[in-house]
Symmetry: C2
Subunit: 407 residues, 2 copies
C-alpha cells in the first residue's frame, strides 16, 4: 500500500487547501492601513483540536477557545494589532462579541466560533472597528492562493514573511485528503510582545479526542520545539480543524493513520521552521539534536536550556564553536545526567568527547560556522530517547528590534 500513496506539497496554498474551507483577510483599521483581520470558515461542522500557551497570564480569547474546543466549530476569527490581553472583564466581553458577530455574519452559532488576537497588550480592543470588519469580511470569503495570502498577511505582527504550508495525500483509490495551514510569530514580541499563532485545516473526518492527541504530539515536535527568546506569550495558540469534506475517515485503527500523522507533522514543522527562520534579528538557524537521553521530556528541557542561553546564542552569532557554554547550559537545565559521558558535535566536527575537549580544525570550523543553518548534535550516551529543536542566535539586530519599539 505504501508505494501507492502519493504525498506532495502544494505551493502557495494554506488555510483553504483542504476542501470545504473558505477564508478572507482585510484591513479593519486596527493597525494603520495594514491587513489585520482574518476569518476562516468551514462549510461543515468540524472536530477541533487545540494547544494553548502555558503562561498563567492568558488573554481573553485563549479562555474562549478553551471553552469552545469541544463544540462543532465552524469558524475562526483572528485580529492582529491588539492582543486583548490583560484587559479584564472588558476583554472577555469583547472576545465574546467577536464570536457573536462572526456567528451572526456567517449564520452559525457563537459557540461554533474560535477567537484569536495578537498585538499590543493591556490596551482595550477597538471593538467597533473589529465588529465592523467582521461584517465586511464575511462576504469576501473564498478559496485559493490569493485568499490564503490575504488571511496569512492579516495575522502578521513583526513578521517579515508570510507563513503558509499545505500537503496533498492521494490514495490508490484516487481519493485524496489535504492538510494546510498558516502561522505567525517572529520572536514572542511585538508590539509589546507577540505571539505564536498557527491555524490548520484538514478535510478528513476524525474523532475529536483522537485528533487532539495526534495534534498535541505534532505540536510538541514542532511549535513546542522552537524558541527565539524563550518568552512564552499570553496568547500562543495552535488550532486544527477537521471537517470530513474529503469523504475519507480516519480512526484509531485505520491504516491511513500513520500517513495522516506524518503529513500533519510535515505541515506543523514546515510552519514552525518558517517562524524560526523569521526570528527577530536571526543570522543563524540552530538545529539541535539531543540523542541517547533517558527520556524525551528531560531531553526537551535540556534543549530549551541550551537554545535559550544568551551565552550559547551570542557565541554562534560570533561564529565561535564554544562547546563549554553548551555543556554548561546542559548542566543547569535541572535534568540529571552524567557529564563525563557527553559527546558534542558542531556540524560534522566533534568538539567534546566524554565531557572533555577534542581537538578539531579551527579553520574548517570557521568555514562551517560562517554558514546560516547550523547543526548541533549532542549524544548523552545514557538512554534511547532523542529530540530535535530549533533556535536562533542572539544578534545586535535582536537588541535593536526589541529595545527601540516605542522610542
Amino acid at each position: 500500500m505504501k508505494n501507492d500513496i502519493l504525498i506532495s506539497k502544494i505551493e502557495d496554498l494554506g488555510l483553504s487547501a483542504a476542501e470545504g474551507y473558505k477564508t478572507a483577510g482585510i484591513s479593519g483599521g486596527i493597525k494603520n492601513c495594514k491587513k489585520d483581520l482574518a476569518i476562516l470558515y468551514s462549510e461543515y461542522d468540524t472536530a477541533a483540536a487545540g494547544v494553548f500557551t502555558q503562561n498563567i497570564v492568558q488573554a481573553a480569547p485563549v479562555h474562549l477557545c478553551r471553552a469552545h474546543l469541544s463544540n462543532p466549530i465552524r469558524a475562526i476569527v483572528i485580529n492582529s494589532g491588539n492582543a486583548n490581553a490583560c484587559t479584564g472583564d472588558q476583554g472577555r466581553k469583547d472576545a465574546s462579541l467577536m464570536a457573536e458577530k462572526t456567528a451572526a455574519a456567517l449564520g452559525i452559532k457563537s459557540g461554533q466560533v474560535m477567537v484569536c488576537s495578537t498585538g499590543v497588550i493591556g490596551v482595550p480592543l477597538p471593538i467597533d472597528k473589529v465588529t465592523a470588519g467582521i461584517d465586511k469580511i464575511s462576504s469576501l470569503l473564498g478559496r485559493g492562493a490569493s485568499k490564503d495570502l490575504d488571511s496569512a498577511t492579516a495575522i502578521m505582527t513583526t513578521d517579515t514573511t508570510v507563513k503558509r504550508s499545505a500537503y496533498r495525500v492521494v490514495l490508490p483509490s484516487g481519493l485524496e485528503f489535504k492538510i494546510g495551514g498558516m502561522a505567525k510569530g517572529s520572536g514572542m514580541i511585538c508590539p509589546n510582545m507577540a505571539t505564536m499563532l498557527a491555524f490548520l485545516t484538514t478535510d478528513v473526518k476524525i474523532e475529536r479526542t483522537l485528533l487532539q492527541s495526534i495534534f498535541a504530539e505534532a505540536a510538541d515536535a514542532s511549535f513546542n520545539s522552537i524558541t527565539v527568546d524563550g518568552d512564552t506569550s499570553t496568547n500562543d495558540t495552535a488550532l486544527l480543524l477537521a471537517n470530513g469534506a474529503s469523504g475519507i475517515e480516519i480512526h484509531a485503527g485505520s491504516p491511513l493513520l500513520p500517513y495522516f500523522k506524518d503529513v500533519l507533522n510535515r505541515v506543523c514543522c514546515d510552519l514552525a521552521l518558517q517562524i524560526v527562520r523569521d526570528g527577530e534579528g536571526i543570522t543563524k538557524l540552530l538545529k539541535l539534536t539531543i540523542s541517547r537521553a533517558q527520556d524525551r521530556e528531560g531531553a526537551r528541557v535540556m534543549a530549551r536550556s541550551i537554545l535559550n542561553s544568551p551565552l550559547v546564542k551570542t557565541a554562534f552569532y560570533g561564529e565561535d564553536a564554544n562547546w563549554g557554554r553548551i555543556i554548561a547550559a546542559l548542566g543547569y537545565a535541572g535534568v540529571d545526567f552524567d557529564p563525563e559521558k557527553v559527546d558534542i558535535f558542531i556540524g560534522p566536527y566533534q568538539v567534546a568527547k566524554n565531557g572533555g575537549a577534542v581537538p578539531f580544525s579551527e579553520s574548517a570550523m570557521k568555514v562551517y560556522l560562517a554558514g546560516h543553518d547550523l547543526d548541533i548534535f549532542i549524544t548523552l550516551n545514557q538512554g534511547l530517547a532523542e529530540v530535535t529543536s530549533w533556535g536562533t542566535d542572539l544578534s545586535h539586530e535582536y537588541i535593536n528590534i526589541n529595545s527601540n519599539y516605542r522610542t
Copy 2:
C-alpha cells in the same frame, strides 16, 4: 544593648580585615602577565561554610571543596585563567595537587585547603605554573589594603573592577569582630564562560553547622538573588571561614547572633551588587521587589524569570516602561498566581493595577528611565512573602563582549 553596638564599614579592606588572616596575589603565568593566583591563609583552624553551583557539570575544584568542607580549613588557593572544568581525571588530580602543594608550602594538611579555579573550560590546567606560583606566593602572605587588593585582582577574569567589602562590629565591652571578603564575576562568562566566586572571612568563633545555615541564608538573599544572563557556571562557589581570632563566640542563642547575621548580609549584598554593577554590557541596574507573594521560593523563581527575560531586559535598555513583558514573564515562571490581582510599579509610577493598564505620565517615566539604577516593584496581593533581586539590562555591548571573545 542595641544602641551600644557600633557597625561600620572598613574602606579598602577585604579578605584580611578580620584578625588572623593573611593573603597574597601574584602573577603565576597562567594568564599573560596579569595576576592570576591568590592564597588566603588563616593562622587558626576555621569552621568553613560553602555554597556551590547547582550546575550538574561541576568543575574538579568544586568537588574538592565539597569534600573538604567539614574539615578545619586553614587556607584557600584560587587561580584565574583556567577553570579546571570538563577536564576529567587529570582535572581531579590537578585540583588535589594544588591542595597538596599549598599545604606543603604553609605547613598544614592538604585536607585543610580549599581550591577554586575560574577561566577557560575544557583545557587542562597549566599545573607546573600553578604549583611554581604556590611555592612563590606563600612567602608573600600579609595583611592590609595592598595585600587584599592583590588577591582580589588575581581572581578577576572579565571583571572591570576589583570587588571587596569589610565591616567592623564594636561591642559595648570594646571587643570587636569583623567580616570581610572579596568576589569576582561580571556575567557568567569569560573566557569560555565564567564564574561567580566569593570568599569571606570572619574572626568570630562559631560552630560549623550554625555557620553553614546562616551563610546559606545570606547567600540566598545576595549571591543567589542576582542575575546577569541566567547562565550558571560550572565553578560558582562562595566560601566563608570563621577562625575565632577575635575571642568572640557566637552560638544559636547568643544575643550577638542577629548582629552577626545582619553584618554578614551587608557584606554579601555589597559584594553581590558589585558583581551586578560590573555586569557585562550593563547600562541599567534593575532592582526588582516582588511582595505579597505566597512564599519566598515561588517569588524568587518569578523574579528570576523576569530578570532573565530578554524582552524585559531589552525594553529597559531601550528605556521603555513595557509592563506587558514583565507580566508575561511573571506568567511563564511556572508559579501559580492570580494575574488579575497583580499591581506593578516602575520607580514611583504605577503602570498596572489588577493585571490591567493604569495611565501614567510618559514624559515623567521617560525621565525616570533615563537613570541608571531602576526599581521595579510588583505586588501580587496574595500572600505575605517578599523577595528582592537584582539584574541588568541587555545591551549591544553584551552582544559585543560575548560574541567577539575568540574572534
